[in-house]
Amino acid sequence: MWESLIIEPFINALLFIYDLIGENFGLAIILFTVIIKVVSWPLMSKQIKSSQAMQEMQNDQEWIDIQKKYKNDRDKLAQEQMSFYKKKGISPFASCLPTLIQFPIIIGLYQSIIQTMADAPMQMFNLIPKILPWLKDFFSFIPSLQEPLALLPLNSQFLWMDIGRPERVFIPGISFGIPVLAIIVAATSYLQTKLIATPSADSQSSQMSGMMNIYMPLLMGWFAYSLASGLALYFLASNLFSIIQYAILGRFDFKNLLPKKKAENKQ
């Protein structure tokens, strides 16, 4: 079910793009990521708006007062919270549902990239039955398309990297390879989380957000460092697209990038 509904269509879409753009798998990953992001734009926009409203709620004086008032009565606090949501027109599920719908897409995209990069016998053995030979006939109006199976093995070279291997740049005089892509992935992840963060009035929440802002980029950077560069490309394309999407929706706050004054912090 999962394979036939998500993975196989994704693998064939990746191969279709790969063929269409002249057998460049790196570019195919980037383009496919962008297409998926564009298709899921309405969901993502809804999620961004809802989570923004939820975050803004944390700084709302009325909500802060409610929390203080009912801090020892959890049931009453929950009731008041729902009333507050209703009053402000916030739907808590509106921020969760799009995320839940997107999860299978993101995981499917990730798994299909891995499977399409088949670079060992078992992977290739599993990949071949998933390739739909009739795709060429379906797209017969594009004469340049090849037989899908003839595309194998994929050209794994993209810029300076091998898509199937972790990326490193070797500079003469330095004994180790520099993980440029992993650094860029970590940096864009950090940029993304910083730019979209809404300062919270609650110091504990603010501290937790700050930890997450560091933890997530490091984790993403670690995966980009240790996994195949094709996946790092996907992380990078995804991060950049999200940043652009937030910018278009006007959810950016460049002030988040500037160091906060101590006085502000004390307040």
């Binding site: 990730y110 798994q111 891995i114 060992a120 078992m122 290739m124 003839a150 093995p153 609650d202 937790m208």
Partner: protein, 372 residues
């Protein structure tokens, strides 16, 4: 809020760990590769290579002595002149002493995985690598020449008296002279004069080849992942015929089994096709359905062939399309089947055995599992 951040953090971490867990990159897998020379089987699995007495399944030696988590080796070892040569996923070719498994030399000039087996012929080692090169070394591990194709090489090269043949994933079938002039070599990237610029001749098969080809009486039989069997006359350098059974031959991973009367080809749909050696026509109106995918190469048996499926079925099929089931085992079989004496030897995908021998009635003769 704090709870929400914690929950988000846990979800994201779990998701990323899931991503890491489900990736196959870096933990690539295959099935055990083995070869049998005289009374000994040489088998590679995970990080180790074993020599096993095929009379009783008793291990003679292993290399390295302890498992190494960073090493992966699945290519079937090649043996000749007292050495066993095997390539690993780190691109290292290791030559071991055939009698005790001690390391004799190592070649680390490749940049990618050794998936196909090495060929040793006339004092030379021919090693196909996924980095698009075929490496030719002397039996001391010194690089004599290398040839760069345009795709990975996963199949074992072939040799006849004068030539070396390589079927590549880059869709080409290459032929190289065993003897060549130094003028054929140009400077490689590392400055050495080892790069062979052109094969003597080549044929475009239009699809990748992952199954080892076979040579018989001056004709090479090679199969592609599209599901087409080619017969190539290496003397005339011409394609004799090709066979795809009107599109009914699926992708082929196994080596065709060549007998006097027929060529038996097994595909991943589990169909066995019998093909006329002379003109490539189908000998049966419809293929025999084995009931499971056939990945590993079969072996000739009398006038037929013995095959195994990924559902653990081992069977013989003769030229009259009469099947005889030998065994129905619990584990899938992806490896090559060998028929030695009265024993059928194979490497099941099993926790209980890396190499197994059964008799013609399907009873286990021995099972080899390395001691922990």
């Amino acid at each position: 809020m704090k709870k929400k951040i914690f929950t988000t953090l846990i979800i994201l971490s779990s998701l990323l760990l899931f991503f890491a867990g489900c990736t196959r990159v870096g933990t690539a897998s295959s099935w055990p590769g083995y070869s049998i020379i005289k009374e000994t089987a040489y088998l590679s699995h995970e990080s180790q290579t074993f020599a096993i007495d095929i009379e009783n399944g008793i291990p003679l030696w292993k290399y390295p002595s302890d498992k190494e988590s960073s090493r992966q080796v699945y290519a079937a070892p090649a043996t000749d002149d007292g050495v066993v040569v095997v390539g690993d996923y780190d691109g290292v070719l290791t030559a071991l002493d055939q009698t005790n498994g001690t390391k004799k030399w190592e070649f680390d000039g490749a940049n990618d995985r050794y998936i196909g087996s090495v060929l040793i012929s006339d004092g030379m080692v021919y090693a196909p690598n996924s980095d698009h090169y075929l490496y030719a070394l002397d039996t001391e591990g010194n690089l004599e020449w290398k040839f760069e194709g345009v795709g990975p090489n996963w199949t074992k090269p072939l040799a006849d008296e004068n030539m070396i043949y390589l079927a590549s994933m880059d869709h080409n079938f290459y032929a190289f002279d065993k003897e060549f002039s130094q003028n054929d070599l140009v400077n490689a990237e590392d400055g050495s004069k080892t790069l062979l610029t052109n094969a003597k001749w080549s044929l475009d098969l239009e699809m990748a080849v992952v199954g080892d080809p076979v040579i018989d009486d001056g004709v090479v039989y090679v199969v592609t992942i599209e599901g087409r069997l080619f017969a190539i006359d290496v003397k005339s350098e011409k394609l004799l015929w090709s066979f795809n059974n009107n599109g009914n031959l699926a992708a082929v991973w196994s080596t065709p089994v060549v007998t006097e009367e027929a060529i038996f080809v097994a595909d991943v749909d589990g169909n066995i096709h019998a093909v006329d050696v002379l003109d490539g026509s189908a000998l049966w109106p419809s293929p025999f359905s084995a009931g499971g995918k056939v990945v590993g190469s079969g072996a000739a048996y009398e006038e037929g062939a013995v095959f195994a499926t990924d559902e653990g079925k081992i069977f013989i099929i003769n030229l009259n399309k009469e099947p005889k089931t030998i065994a129905n085992l619990e584990n899938p079989i992806y490896s090559t089947i060998n028929f030695i004496g009265e024993k059928i030897i194979f490497a099941p995908a099993s926790e209980a055995s890396l190499l197994t021998a059964i008799d013609l009635n399907g009873f286990k003769v021995w099972a080899f599992l390395p001691p922990e």
